[in-house]
């Protein structure tokens, strides 16, 4: 046995860190988890995925009610209470989970003293020093601010502030049309705000299957959101009790005013105060911790996972990496196939993708088969009226394997699991097409798209 305090110390209690800690404990390692927040769960549970989904759901229900009863008014306070309820329950249960596994939870800011020692500044300002054989850095990321528009979290807000506004703003300007931007824009647009999205690129949601992104853009415009694409924001200033955002659009300067301005132009790795130099851990030029294929830093006993390293900033990616690293510490082996990590935009309809797009695959020299079916042809969608969107299946012609699934549809976030399973299990498009799907369901569209890719669609 080691003479150090722990076998593993996980820095960060988000979906990467707490999951890694639990798996370490399950494998019999003496584990601690250091978290700077009062609550476990990280960005995801406290100020990210979970609260935004609560608001997205509540605002969607309101939209449905409003369609039936035009005089309906949103109860924003209740909506926020619901959100906080969900967050509170989840973060508490994470803490309980860690307790159950006898993981020491230490609240405070961690800093390396040397490669095996961590000095933790506790909430009361005192310091606690712990030593460990292994470390897993899972400190995540934080929103990037624009130099001319620092966050005050009241009028100029990050996603964190946007999910905790005191009231529904009359007007909201969203700088950055990425996934976070369109989700929060959707929430306030549904609740009655006038929402303007200003995006530097000529399309929204970079990284998403291009046709899916275009489809979503059209749908969001129909829902009343205003978009300025290819627009470069040049500054913001206070005027008439509002915040003016100026940008160049089609060669001309333009201004929109918002009660609130949401800046969501990206997230950057969070390594502040860690004193990584003392541990011998190096960063790349973008501030990400450098790791090898085994997710080891320059120190072979210090690992890093999730948003703090290279890769898509997704909670479930971090969790998978956390499990894999925990298992590798005890000599077990698990591979995280980046192609099986689904990505979801929780707008209405939802957009979900996993694996490769048609374009990617072709660019990489693969011969591609693909099938795309519209949700308009889906009997279940016909019953519910949720007709917007499509399902696209991408396959590799040589092996017949399914290599990508791209969906714009109600419930796309649930449907995408089919694609993740197919890619992880190396299923062929044939095998998916031959699987019986319940009728009538949205998921039948996946089967139909697979059949279409094989040239044997029944309904298309």
């Amino acid at each position: 046995m080691s003479e150090r305090d722990y076998q593993v110390v996980v820095i960060g209690g988000g979906p990467g860190g707490y999951v890694a800690a639990v798996r370490c404990a399950e494998l019999g390692l003496k584990t601690a988890c250091v978290e700077k927040r009062k609550t476990m769960g990280g960005t995801c549970l406290n100020v990210g995925c979970i609260p935004s989904k609560a608001l997205l759901y509540g605002s969607e229900v309101y939209t449905l009610v409003k369609e039936q009863n035009t005089s309906a008014q949103p109860d924003f306070i209740k909506l926020m209470e619901n959100k906080e309820g969900a967050v509170h329950t989840l973060v508490t249960s994470v803490s309980t989970l860690l307790k159950k596994h006898h993981i020491d939870q230490i609240e405070g800011m961690a800093a390396f003293e040397d490669p095996n020692t961590l000095s933790i500044t506790l909430p009361d300002g005192s310091k606690k020093t712990i030593t460990s054989d292994n470390f897993i850095i899972a400190t995540g990321s934080e929103p990037v601010a624009l130099p001319f528009a620092p966050f005050d979290e009241e009028t100029i807000v990050s996603s964190t502030g946007a999910l905790a506004l005191k009231k529904i703003p009359e007007s909201l300007v969203v700088i950055g049309g990425g996934i976070i931007g369109v989700e929060i824009a959707s929430v306030y647009s549904r609740l009655g705000s006038k929402v303007t999205v200003v995006e530097m690129l000529d399309h929204i949601c970079p990284g998403v299957e291009p046709y899916a992104a275009r489809t979503l853009l059209q749908i969001l415009k129909k829902q009343g959101l205003e978009f300025f694409l290819g627009a470069k924001v040049t500054g913001t200033k206070k005027a008439n009790g509002k915040q003016d955002v100026t940008f160049e659009y089609e060669g001309k300067p333009q201004t929109v005013a918002g009660d609130v301005v949401l800046v969501c132009v990206g997230r950057k790795p969070y390594t502040q105060g860690l004193q990584l130099d003392r541990a011998g851990v190096e960063l790349d030029t973008k501030g990400r911790i450098i790791v090898d294929g085994a997710l080891k830093t320059k120190q072979s006993h210090i690992f890093a996972i999730g948003d703090v390293i290279d890769g898509p900033g997704l909670a479930h990616r971090a969790s998978e990496e956390g499990i894999a690293v925990a298992e590798s510490i005890v000599g077990q082996r698990k591979v995280v196939n980046m192609l099986t990590i689904p990505s979801v935009i929780y707008t209405y309809p939802e957009v979900a993708s996993v694996g490769m797009t048609d374009q990617d695959a072709k660019a990489k020299g693969l011969e591609v088969i693909s099938g795309q079916v519209s949700m308009r042809g889906n009997p279940r969608a016909r019953c519910t009226g949720e007709l917007e969107g499509f399902v696209k299946v991408v396959g590799d012609k040589k092996t017949g394997r399914l290599i990508g699934l791209h969906i714009v549809s109600a419930h796309a976030s649930e449907l995408i699991a089919i694609g993740a399973i197919a890619i992880a299990a190396k299923l062929t498009v044939d095998q998916v097409a031959e699987t019986p799907f319940a009728h009538p369901t949205y998921s039948e569209a996946v089967k139909e798209a697979a059949l279409l890719a094989l040239g044997k669609a029944i309904h298309a």
């Binding site: 090898d292 294929g293 085994a294 997710l295 080891k296 072979s300 990496e321 894999a324 690293v325 590798s328 510490i329 000599g331 082996r333 698990k334 591979v335 995280v336 196939n337 980046m338 192609l339 490769m356 990489k364 693969l366 590799d396 040589k398 092996t399 017949g400 394997r401 290599i403 992880a424 299990a425 190396k426 062929t428 044939d430 095998q431």
Partner: protein, 410 residues
């Protein structure tokens, strides 16, 4: 007139075979029904016969994978010229690129094998052969994914280099230089045997108990009734039928030996199907005697003779090899005095017979000469305990030493 030579259907679960030995070279003249090619599968070997007399053209070579019903070549009964080359290509391609249906069927076959663990582990195996250490890569990037796709279906990649390999030693053999070793491909049937035996060693908690049996009563009985038996039934009265009867009786007394593990369930067979190991020049085969509890000794002897003949001719059907509940193996025919047989999973036990040898034994405080045989019972300790195993073997011993017990079922 050209008659096509095709891969015959060899049983429901067999979708493809490997061209084993080419018995008649392309271009040679063959008679109708002459043996042309021997195909190997993981269950049986199958000879393909000439459909007509004429000049044979083959479109496959040894080591090729060939799906059922695909073309192997044809026989030109007009005694025509040699093969037009292009014919060869499509057949080869067909052989090398199994359709996704083939892949599926292969997977299904694997599924029926009793090793769910192995399957779960499979995806991991596939990564590059980095040793299983802490440093092994966790991240499977898009580049890794693309490389995997480039490699194509797994079976194919494994098969391709292999076919390439066999050609080499053949060339090497042709020049008898300083080669001090030769190399040949493991026949499919050998591979299947190897896989099952290793599986058995890994899966089961196997151990062996021994006993010995005085064979004099059975030998006397055989001597006394051999002639009458042969006259009536047309087969010799061997030792095996006694062992089958004794084993069925023991299985009835200790039913756990006729059960198998399915995950966490113990499945009890209510029938008595015994596998009888038969050695052939291709390797070990274990044809199954069905419903042994309902067979008379003459039935058993007849069936055994039929199996032995079929096995030696390589004509045993797949169905005849499947589903045994317990196995008897006789190493004695080769002179083995004592051995520890390996159980045939998912079976729970195997009885090993050995050579009958006259030995000095003590009976009623007298040293006497008796024809003795050692018996070995290997069993899966996960299902049965030592007490039952020993009692099972003693039960068999008692039956054999006093054959009237077989008649009276006591």
């Amino acid at each position: 007139m050209k008659a096509e030579v095709k891969v015959p259907r060899m049983g429901e679960s067999i979708s493809e075979a490997v061209v084993g030995t080419i018995l008649k070279a392309s271009g040679s003249t063959v008679k109708a029904d002459e043996e042309i090619i021997e195909l190997e599968t993981d269950k049986v070997n199958q000879v393909v016969y000439a459909p007509a007399a004429g000049v044979l053209t083959l479109t496959v070579k040894e080591g090729d994978k060939v799906p059922v019903d695909s073309l192997l070549g044809y026989v030109d009964s007009d005694g025509g010229a040699a093969a037009p080359a292009p014919q060869a290509k499509p057949a080869k391609e067909e052989a090398k690129q199994p359709t996704s249906e083939d892949i599926l069927e292969k997977d299904e076959r694997q599924e029926t094998k009793p090793s769910p663990k192995a399957e779960v582990a499979e995806p991991k195996k596939e990564k590059p052969s980095t040793p299983k250490t802490e440093g092994a890569s966790i991240r499977f990037s898009e580049t890794d994914f693309l490389n995997e796709l480039q490699k194509g279906p797994q079976e194919e990649t494994k098969a391709a280099p292999k076919t390439a390999k066999i050609e080499k030693p053949q060339q090497a053999e042709s020049k008898p230089s300083s080669d001090r070793e030769t190399r040949r491909r493991m026949p499919t049937i050998r591979k299947a045997i190897a896989k099952r035996l290793v599986e058995a060693q890994h899966e089961a908690a196997m151990l062996t108990t021994f006993n010995e049996v005085d064979m004099s009563a059975i030998i006397d009985l055989r001597t006394q009734y051999q002639e009458a038996f042969q006259k009536k039934y047309g087969v010799k009265l061997g030792f095996m039928s006694f062992f089958v009867e004794a084993t069925v009786s023991a299985l009835k007394a200790f039913p756990l030996f006729n059960s198998y593990l399915d995950d966490e369930d113990i499945v009890q067979r209510q029938y008595y199907d015994l596998g009888i190991a038969v050695s052939t020049d291709k390797g070990l085969l274990v044809p199954v005697l069905r419903d042994c509890d309902k067979l008379t000794m003459s039935d058993i002897e007849k069936k055994l003779e039929e199996y032995a003949k079929k096995a030696r001719e390589g004509k045993i059907a797949l169905e005849e090899l499947q589903g045994g509940g317990f196995t008897i193996t006789n190493g004695g025919v080769f002179g083995s005095l004592l051995s520890t047989p390996i159980i045939n999973p998912p079976q729970c036990g195997i009885l090993g017979m050995h050579k009958i040898q006259k030995r000095a034994v003590v009976l009623d405080d007298q040293i006497v000469i008796r024809p003795m045989m050692y018996l070995a019972l290997s069993y899966d300790h996960r299902i049965v305990d030592g007490k039952e195993a020993v009692s099972f073997l003693v039960h068999i011993k008692n039956m054999l030493e006093s054959p009237p017990r077989i008649l009276l079922e006591v």
